[in-house]
């Protein structure tokens, strides 16, 4: 046993070479049609194809060499470290966590609070537009959506594949009510949440007697119905053209962010005209909305209703035997989740200034659900990390020009976003099948609060 774990041992090396070649062969057949052949249009607009053997060779080489290094060097190295640790008697689960680990939440919050100014300082006004808007606001919208869905999927264990419908209800509520009736953002923000919750109840009432796969299919259909209504009800929603020129949020009614306005924010503070101030303002709004979502979720978990949600996820029949009305309990979970989706939607509408059914396709629901599952169902911290990784990751991929050095100058990393995305998800699920944070915090305790391991919690089936 000890002999085979040593690096450079002929057995290990031979095995590494064998597995490397094997991985290369698999990669060759896997990528042969994906990468090796490319279709394009010639001058006559006819579709023809050409081969890309060079790129295919790089893919195969990366797979083969990667596998060779993993089996031959990395794995023996990790094994040896584990063995050394086991011999020295230091437990893997150490009580003394690092300073960063213990104060992670506080550090993260402080970082978020200073983030817009930090980016303003480092990259200047024009440069920080990208960091505040594309990274900051974009990620925080998904954090809020995922935290909202977490109530439905993570706590109550109801698989909802149509969550984006409530996001759409919120966005269109704001877009329509503000452009037809001129209502302000601060009035419409809670109102679109209430409207989305109402739709959650309307959908939930007939549907929540279904369980598991059936519930998932019906919610999926609901998401599509909302999208199709938005496309086809052209008199009101302007169909696929979408609604543009949606009013910006004002600074609590005191200053406006419209450049031509008399009481414009920039003029009042004597700043030079730039849209970055509005973006920074939006960043703090969505940050506050996220904090509100987290606060409500944490409070609700300690209330009887929150405990009933989690009990419902664990065992619905036992819930009924204890006198819990499972229909209303499910309905409240659905409505609460929908409400946060709706609020996020109205924020999305004001940030974009434009909504169209394009933004509310099934893929959005899938991404939000993936964030919840990847983060660890029920865990706010895990879900926030997953949102940063998933949403931030796709944004970062746009920037990865150094990949061109490996894969040649024609390589456009954006095109491979979804491929890498899927790969990353598979890797995370292999090593952390319960998500980044798989354990759950108990809501009450007698002597000490101990996290409940993910192996005891259930995913729910209805």
């Amino acid at each position: 046993m000890t002999a085979s774990t040593e690096t450079g041992h002929p057995n290990v090396l031979a095995k590494a070479v064998r597995e490397g070649l094997f991985a290369g062969v698999i990669a060759f057949f896997m990528f042969l049609l994906f990468v090796g052949i490319e279709t394009y249009q010639d001058i006559n607009n006819a579709l023809v194809w050409r081969t890309r053997w060079g790129l295919l060779a790089i893919f195969v080489a990366v797979a083969a060499v990667g596998r060779f290094l993993t089996v031959g060097f990395i794995k023996p190295h990790v094994d040896r470290r584990k063995l050394a640790k086991a011999k020295s008697g230091v437990l893997e689960i150490s009580e003394n966590k690092s300073f960063f680990h213990r104060h992670f939440l506080k550090i993260a919050l402080v970082f978020l609070l200073v983030y817009p100014f930090l980016s303003l300082l480092i990259v200047g006004k024009q440069g920080s537009l990208k960091y505040v808007d594309n990274f900051g606001i974009q990620i925080l919208i998904y954090v809020m959506l995922a935290w909202g869905l977490n109530i439905v999927v993570g706590l109550a264990g109801l698989l909802d594949l149509g969550y984006v419908a409530f996001y759409a209800v919120g966005a269109y509520s704001y877009a329509l009510l503000s452009s037809y009736f001129g209502l302000s953002f601060w009035l419409l923000l809670p109102m679109s949440g209430i409207l989305a919750a109402l739709w959650g109840i309307i959908l939930g009432f007939p549907v929540l007697r279904l369980r598991g796969d059936y519930l998932a299919i019906v919610t999926l259909a609901f998401g599509e119905i909302i999208r199709l209504v938005l496309i086809n009800w052209t008199d009101v929603t302007k169909g696929t053209f979408g609604i543009s020129g949606i009013a910006k949020a004002s600074f609590f009614g005191i200053w406006s962010f419209d450049t031509g306005s008399a009481n414009s924010f920039v003029k009042a503070w004597g700043l030079s005209a730039s849209s970055v101030y509005y973006k920074i303002f939006l960043f703090y709004i969505i940050l506050a909305l996220c904090m509100l979502t987290a606060y409500v979720t944490i409070r609700l978990r300690r209330m009887p209703i929150g405990r009933a949600w989690e009990a419902l996820r664990e065992d619905e029949i036992a819930c009924r035997s204890l006198g819990i009305n499972t229909v209303t309990t499910k309905l409240t979970a659905f409505a609460t989740g929908a409400m946060f989706g709706g609020v996020a939607g109205s924020f999305f509408a004001t940030r974009q200034g434009f909504v169209s059914p394009e933004s509310f396709v099934f893929l959005e629901s899938a991404v939000i659900l993936a964030i919840v599952v990847l983060g660890g169902m029920g865990s706010l911290t895990g879900i926030a990390i997953a949102a940063v990784v998933m949403v931030g990751g796709t944004e970062v991929l746009r920037e990865m020009s150094f990949l061109k050095a490996v894969f040649g100058p024609d390589f456009t990393p954006e095109l491979y976003r979804m491929l890498l995305f899927g790969l990353a998800m598979i890797i995370v699920m292999l090593f952390k099948p319960r998500g980044f944070v798989g354990s759950r915090e108990p809501t009450a305790f007698l002597k000490e609060r101990r996290a409940v391991s993910g192996s005891f919690t259930k995913e729910g089936h209805g």
Partner: protein, 292 residues
Amino acid sequence: MAPGTTTMTSGIAGDTILKVEHLSMKFGGLMAINDLSLEVRRGEITALIGPNGAGKTTVFNCITGFYKPTMGMLTLQRRDGKEYLLERLRDFEIPKLAGVARTFQNIRLFSGLTVLENLLVAQHNALMKASGYTILGLLGLPAYSRAVDASIEKAKYWLDKADLTDRADDPAGDLPYGAQRRLEIARAMCTNPELLCLDEPAAGLNPRESAALNTLLHQIRDEGASILLIEHDMSVVMEISDHVVVLEYGQKISDGSPDHVKNDPRVIAAYLGVEDDEVEEVIAVELEGGNH
């Protein structure tokens, strides 16, 4: 909690908590229960026994609302004199309004919640009311925090009774089998039931755990709750029950004190599997004996 037999005012016999009349349950062509009538007396431990497939769990599921009976009437009388027709209530209303709690043959705990949380979930309805259906609770009113303290006190009380105080903060799924059985009973008791229905509480317990269970059940009875239990283990049944009802093929074949049932030839025949004509003989012999 005083045994409230004196407050009985109206309706069925003063000491009866549950009256099952002409209960029938049909699954397709299968008659699982056929015209069954029985009574559960207040403050007693009543055992429902019978061979496998006799319909014991079906009776339980009818009483606790998981099945709607094909025919028959299930009348539950609460201590304050109110009567409930269980077959007309929805499943979650039976524990909530009629005060009937149950456990399951295959334990159904909230395994990912801690032991304490399991007991708090059981007090859902009381806490919901105290929290003003969540709204007042979110504001943190003192009335709600008092209710929370009271619920934790009650949980502690039953943790102590079930000998689980040391493991209060562990996930329920982490407990050994016997402790899970006790926790399920404690959880049912946290709903303040007047009738506790236990589906094979002693199944799979070792002798020591079984003895601990008997003490727990006696304590529950002495505090005023009535118990209806299904059991296979005859030693448990004979030791703890005050009244035994025997089922076979969905029909009642015997009803009475443990001693009476133990010596009933039909029960012996049902359990030992005597041929039908032999039963006739046994009964005939018994009847002759009785006539002397």
